[in-house]
Assembly symmetry: C2
Homo-oligomer: 158 residues x 2
DNA sequence: TTGAAATAGGACCAAAAGAGTCCGAATTAA
DNA sequence: TTAATTCGGACTCTTTTGGTCCTATTTCAA
């Protein structure tokens, strides 16, 4: 299945929790685990990761905790995912060029690059603030990729 | 990593191979493996799967083989992925409602639904024919989701 | 009629990734 | 000093993936 890991799932829940509260608020792993009902060891692990990746700022010692490194409008879902899972790449050949034997003669790789870029851009367009309220599809309905030289071929899609 | 399986990768390569050849052409697993340089047992497995899912039609017996079940314009990348991996769902709660303990109080689930739908639609907009030639980004640059009630929050994205 | 060449449908296995826990060390507020 | 934190790992168990292989069954053609 095309699925993000639980780590990412929880990570975004936690980040959204920050976005839902006054800016600059600091919370410990313990508090966040209690509030979100996620297991404490997991929450600890995730917060550490997010801090290392620069999305959170940590504050050590007694009464320490974490806060967002930037305002939530400036943190995108794409960044959050990348922090948890590494670069977004639907195919191995996207972020690991040279690993695939067939790279030379593969005729679909270029297209995967563009498809991947489209997904990334869509996710970059969603901030943590957006995640705190219902999303609405824009009047520009969806990002379509279209085949270049030749005509048609898109109209057939339901 | 957010990555499709090799099965899916190979599956789309194979489907694209059909799209690149005269309509209705039939090829055996052996032929396809030779042409695409993919391991024969894998190719066999994938073709069986695609046939079971209705994207290919199989023809048993000596000099049997497979052909596309529909014209390649009418088969989308989204369908191909779904055939190989099951429903496209970036989060478990999308295609397995009830599995997540936090479903009741989760405040981001609705948004994941919409994000998922956006990705699916983008992939539905790409047919096998499109995959046989370079994709070009449409003038409508990309599908953006926007938060409803409140303004701004999108302008900050690089 | 027979045999070769296909697909059908699984079982099977090893390796990798995921999910989750736990521990000792360093840091800091009180 | 002590208690509450974060930090950085190691560690285990389970699931998924990637890949192979085997035994039907079907069909074409000699």
């Amino acid at each position: 299945m095309i699925r993000m890991s639980k780590l990412t799932d929880y990570g975004i829940v936690l980040l959204t929790y920050f976005a839902n509260h006054p800016e600059g608020s600091e919370y410990s792993a313990r508090q966040l685990a209690a509030e979100t009902h996620l297991p404490l060891p997991m929450v600890g692990k995730i917060l550490k990761l997010l801090a290392r990746e620069g999305l959170l700022v940590s504050h050590r010692g007694a009464s320490g905790g974490y806060r967002l490194a930037r305002t939530p409008e400036k943190i995108s879902v794409a960044e959050a995912i990348a922090a948890m899972e590494g670069p977004i790449a639907v195919m191995e050949c996207i972020d690991a060029p040279g690993m695939c034997m067939h790279e030379g003669r593969c005729c679909v790789r270029g297209n995967w690059h563009k498809i991947n870029a489209t997904v990334v851009k869509a996710l970059q367009g969603i901030s943590l603030v957006d995640m705190t309220r219902p999303l609405v599809e824009n009047f520009v309905p969806l990002g379509r990729l279209q085949s270049g030289p030749s005509p048609s071929s898109l109209t057939s899609v339901p």
